[in-house]
């Protein structure tokens, strides 16, 4: 086991763990944000530089700091390593620059984009970015490409994280889309505009950190913050069948995989579950999904899925003065 300290918190991790994985073990407050790394997809990460961290002490044997910020998703932990993430102002400044690069060609059409409200790039630029853009040139634009009846591709919004390519490589028997060209003109495209019509292709929607790949059946139906997520499952012969249903009133507008606190789906779901089962009677409802209180999805929902904040429970716990131990009850009896 190797000892690593991230933002002052020490944890022991097995050999071969990356800094990012170690930080995620400590919790979402410590973990650096990621745009391209996806723990369920092999070889993902290393493209976006969002997860950079500052290594102030290389290891116990060689305590020299690393000369520049390193991508935590691709850097293996050494014994005695010390890492700064949120605690380093220079690092936050560097990450601000990364966000600016990611946004350089991003159209910022959030009012139209269906991903708004659950977009990782939106969250990232809200937390780390600058308020305005310094980019003066014409932004990169692409022609619309038809990806079949279920998936909408907006190449203009793409940040080239390669997650969708890896989904197609690792989840489906063959892929029809990939990244064409290089550099500034690189784009995600289907080869010869072939529809990706295998059973798990819909997962590219869930893994896309921005609104480049969205659900065509949900297109412009509702903003995500007007829908209420509920966990549900069904018996599916192709996938686990564990999903989140997004309700507006009594209608299921959208079905997605269940996402954890890092925005990654727990289990990939099949296209039948995602696109064709949109009636409540198709599902067994488990209850409302937990939504982060900071998320816009929990805004304005005055009933139902409002999550009581942790501190309320803690205050209630501290104020609990009733001693119901046998000794306490005896004292009470004596008083009476």
């Amino acid at each position: 086991m190797l000892k690593v300290t991230i933002d002052g918190q020490t944890i022991e991790v097995p050999e071969g763990t990356t800094i990012l994985q170690a930080a995620r073990m400590l919790g979402p407050d410590v973990a650096p944000p990621t745009m391209c790394y996806y723990s369920k997809l092999e070889t993902s990460g290393g493209y976006c530089r969002t997860c950079i961290v500052k290594v102030t002490k290389g290891s116990e044997k060689d305590p020299r700091p690393m000369p520049k910020p390193v991508a935590s998703c691709r850097t293996i932990v050494m014994d005695g390593m010390e890492v700064q993430n949120q605690t380093s102002p220079e690092l936050l400044e560097a990450r601000k620059g990364v966000v600016e690069f990611l946004l350089a060609n991003h159209p910022l059409d959030c009012p139209i984009c269906d991903q708004a409200g659950e977009c990782h790039l939106q969250d990232l630029s809200f937390e780390h970015g600058i308020e305005s853009t310094r980019y003066e040139f014409e932004r990169r634009t692409f022609k619309k490409i038809d990806l079949g009846p279920y998936i909408q591709l907006h190449m203009t919004r793409c940040i080239l994280c390669y997650r969708c390519v890896k989904v197609a490589d690792q989840l489906t028997p063959q892929r029809y889309h990939g990244v064409l060209n290089r550099g500034d003109v690189a784009e995600i495209s289907t080869y010869i505009e072939k529809a990706i019509d295998n059973d798990f292709s819909g997962n590219v929607i869930d893994v896309c950190p921005v609104g480049a790949l969205t659900d065509k059946t949900f297109r412009f139906k509702s903003r995500v913050w007007f829908t209420k997520p509920s966990d549900a499952h069904r018996n599916c012969d192709k996938c686990s069948g564990k999903v989140t249903l997004w309700y507006k009133g009594d209608d299921v507008l959208r079905v997605t995989g269940r996402k954890n606190e890092f925005g990654e789906v727990d289990e990939f779901i099949c296209n039948t579950c995602r696109f064709e089962k949109k009636r409540t009677s198709d599902w067994q409802i488990e209850g409302p999904s937990k939504v982060d209180r900071k998320s816009v999805i929990s805004a304005n929902h005055y009933s139902g899925n409002t999550v009581i904040p942790d501190f309320a429970f803690r205050v209630a716990e501290n104020n609990k003065k009733i001693d119901d131990s046998p000794k306490g009850s005896n004292l009470l009896a004596m008083k009476n």
Binding site: D109, C110, P111, I112, A116, R219, F220, K221, S222, R223, W225, F226, V296, A299, N300, Y302
Partner: protein
């Protein structure tokens, strides 16, 4: 027993001769009344006369069009989520080819409703709007209602009329200060 510290002792002192005469007090009172005859009136004859409104007054909503008459609203839902009274609701639709002269963006509000009974005219929708589409006009008040069906304002009553766009002068007159600011920003090309 003293029940409260604010109790006052009442004096039962006899009135003086001047006070007992009453007449000086009556004359004094009448004087005050007569003085008000010659003062400036505090009221106006409302429907005929109207007071000047503050340029930052938050009156009836309007959904603006741009210079070419296209609707600015893209149904992003930020006004509805900002609305503390939950008065705004909308249904979005995709712009079809050939409708580019009607709607500014790819998506538009097919239905946009404000419940004027719920609305508290706080202006948060105006502040939330990223497209400068919704404004609370400073020179128009929401009328009183006599029927519940009148209360929900749809797009037919909210969208700015085309006549106000054609004449530049009337465009300015119907705008709030924040709108003028936006216009200035648009002209300066900072947006």
């Amino acid at each position: 027993m003293q029940l409260t510290s604010r109790a006052k002792r009442v004096s039962n002192k006899k009135l003086s001769l001047g006070e007992r005469l009453y007449l000086p007090a009556i004359v004094g009172g009448l004087g005050i009344t007569i003085k008000h005859f010659f003062r400036k009136k505090v009221t106006i004859n409302y429907p005929e006369e109207q007071r000047p409104m503050s340029s930052v007054y938050r009156g009836l909503h309007v959904l603006k069009r741009d210079e070419e008459g296209r609707e600015r609203c893209t149904a992003c839902g930020l006004c509805a989520v900002a609305c503390p009274a939950e008065a705004i609701s909308m249904v979005a639709a995709e712009r079809k080819p050939g409708e580019e002269h009607l709607y500014r963006e790819e998506k538009y509000a097919a239905v946009y409703e404000i419940n004027m009974l719920r609305c508290i005219f706080c202006g948060l929708c105006e502040e939330a709007c990223p497209k400068s589409a919704i404004y609370l006009q400073s020179d128009k008040l929401a009328p009183s209602f006599f029927d519940r069906s009148d209360v929900i304002y749809g797009k037919d009553r909210l969208v700015q009329s085309m006549e106000t766009i054609k004449t530049a002068k009337s465009l300015k007159s119907g705008l709030t200060t924040s709108d003028r600011y936006v216009d200035k920003v648009f002209k300066d090309g900072k947006y």
